[in-house]
Structure formats: C-alpha cells, structure tokens
Symmetry: C2
Subunit: 204 residues, 2 copies
DNA sequence: CCTACCGATCGGTAGG
DNA sequence: CCTACCGATCGGTAGG
C-alpha cells in the first residue's frame, strides 16, 4: 500500500508550514538552552513527533541554525540598504537604524538572539560567510557614524566602538523582554534612543 | 609501592595551581566554544593530560562553571559594596562603576564573559543562587541611577532600562578585545564613558 | 597521573 | 510519519 511513501502525497503547503514550525520551535529552544545543549530529541518532543521524523523536513541540526542565522542577516542587510539609499542626516539615519534593531528584537527576538549568540556553531562555509556579513554590516554602520562626525553632528569618538556599544545595548533587550514588562516597547525604544543617540550627539 | 597513591604525596601548592590552570583553560574554552560544546576530553587535551585525570582536581564539569561564575560574581558584589559605602555624587559613582566593569572585561574577560553568557548551564541550587545575585546586583545598580534622577543629575529615564543598556554595552567589549586592537583600553574606556554617561546626564 | 571501561545520549540513517 | 538501529561521543568511575 506504499504507506511509507506518505510524504510524496503530502501537499507542499503543509510541509512548508511544518518546516516553519520546526524552525520556530528550534529558535525558541536554541535561545533558551543554547544550540549545543538542545538535542534533536528535545526538539522533536516539543513538536510532538519522533526525532527521526524531523529529517523529513530538514537535512540536519546545523541546517536549522543556518536558516535562522541567514534569515535574520538578510533582513538586517536589506534594511541597511534602504537606510543608506534614503536621504536624511546621519543622526536621523542612526535613529531609524536603532529603532529598527529594537523593533526586530521585540518582534523576532528568538531568531535575532540566536543569530547573535549562537552563530559560532555554524559550520564552514556558512561560518565564514556569516562572520564576513557581520563585519561588513558593522563597518557600514560605523560609516554612518563617521559621516555624522564629519558633519559635526556627532562627537569625536571611535565609530567602531560606538557601533559595538549600540549593538550590544540593543541585544540586552531580551533580558528585559522576558522579565515582567513594566515598560512598554514604545517606552523602551524612546529610552534607548534618548540615552544612546543623545550620548553620541554633539552638544552645543 | 603504592604508586597509585601519588596524589597523597603531592604538595597542596602544586595541586592548587593545577586546579587554577584547569579553571583558566576551561574559561578560555567555554568562552570560545560555549560550555555545552566543550568536552572534558577537549579540556584535558589542552592541558596535556587524560580526561580521567581532571577528576583528581575537580569534581565535575559543572563545578568548573560554578567556580568561574561565583568567582566573578563575588568580585563584582564586593566592588559594589565599596561604591555604595563611598561618598560621591551618583554620576561619579556611576562612572566608577562603569570603569570597573570595563576594567574587569579587559583584564579578566574570559571569566567575565563566561559568567555573563554561560551561567544558564549551572545546575540547582547554584542556578537559582546566581540568578538571584544577578537580579540583586542590577537592582542596586539601578538604585544609583535613581538617586541621580532624584538629585537632578540624570535624565528622567527608566533606571532598569539604563542598567541593561550599560551592562550589555560593556559586554560587547569582548568582540573588540579579540579583533585587531586599534583603540587602547584607556581610549575604549573614555569612549564608553563619553557616550554612556553623557547619554544619561541631564544637560542644562 | 594512567588504562580500561560504564551507561547514557548524541545526530543521523535504513527501511517501510 | 514510525520503529529499529548505527557508530561516535559524552561525563564520569574503578582501580591501581
């Protein structure tokens, strides 16, 4: 009866959504326990299937990490393209960028967190690829700050250091996000903009 | 000839330093690969002994993590005690605290990084204990900021958010520390103080 | 400090 | 989608 060929009869739409479910649950578990400490059996149990069945949807544990990391990287790169192409002062670009980072952290923080903290578990050639994209992104980010310094809008500081401060400050949102939320997302964003952008700004 | 009782004849001084060597190498590997992805065989090989021999110096893999995490926590708590007991304005206390964090990150960044990022792999009751210490530390940190707000030295911002920004900004130093160091530790410290403290300060 | 080894668990495959 | 299973590797122990 060929019941072992069930997958050939399974509609593509269903399989795609099952893969998305796997990626979503995996991101949640990788964030919580770390990539290395999450077993495929843990993940399968969360989803409600046997570990072996995962491999009908994904090729390997590492492929899951790749999908998460490059999905996030693509979104950030695309947004930076937009920012660079748009008009506006360096300070306003920086504020837009900062608010985008915060928004991504609030809306997709499981994936963003994993891409930020667990990417070192990628295998070659993905590891090198991701590492390069990361460096490039930070250089472009620093470029905007340097433009602001040239335009006398931003203090004479080391731009790469400022980028690290901003990026890591934003990555701290997860702790907040998980704790009892006394501050709304909007208030958080405004607080961060107030502290970070104002810290960069050159005061009369 | 009782050669299997070698350890009874081993001077305490030597054994202590071997344990310290294990802790130091472990911190380095936990930082680089993560706690879960570092095996006791990896660690033993780095040190130049067999995995089984590690257990003459430490009780378990988790005990190593405990030693690292609580060693770091004790230093930060002790420093905060000093800060709180000292005289000075909230802003100057904050600057001292920030410079201490940066100094710890530069001088002991392997241990500090591990305590910050890998502590979730602690087991009970250490996990709860560490988690509580962490929350308490942040509350005391926020208390100093709140004092600055009351004294009209610091902007009307959400103090816990400001703490997260500062702590995570500092934790970003490792990326910088490992990359080609174009900026000296002193310059880094000054840049961070300039951006973060100035971002908090209430301007005329 | 080592050799020899344990049971548990890992990511992944074969086959239906 | 499952059962049954693989070789590799894990943290850790026994014993000398």
């Amino acid at each position: 009866m060929n019941i072992y060929l069930w997958y050939m009869a399974t509609p593509r739409r269903q399989r795609a959504s099952k893969k998305e479910l796997i990626l979503r649950k995996a991101a949640s578990m990788f964030r919580e326990k770390g990539f290395a400490a999450t077993s495929m059996r843990d993940l399968a149990e969360t989803i409600g299937i046997e570990a072996a069945s995962l491999y009908n949807h994904i090729r390997s544990k590492n492929e899951i990490l790749e999908a998460i990391c490059f999905g996030v990287a693509n979104r950030f790169n695309a947004h930076l393209d937009t920012i660079e192409a748009a008009s506006g002062t360096p300070i306003s670009k920086l504020e837009t960028l900062l608010r985008f980072h915060i928004g991504q952290m609030v809306d997709h923080y499981e994936e963003v967190f994993v891409a930020d903290r667990e990417w070192k578990h990628l295998e070659e050639p993905y590891l090198s690829n991701f590492h390069t994209q990361r460096r490039t992104y930070r250089k472009r980010f620093a470029g905007i700050i340097e433009e602001g310094i040239r335009h006398n809008q931003i203090k004479q500081i080391d731009a790469p250091t400022a980028v690290l401060i901003i990026l890591h400050a934003v990555s701290g949102i997860e702790s907040w996000h998980r704790s009892s939320a006394k501050v709304s997302a909007q208030q958080l964003e405004d607080n961060m903009v107030l502290i970070l952008i104002d810290g960069l700004r050159k005061h009369g």
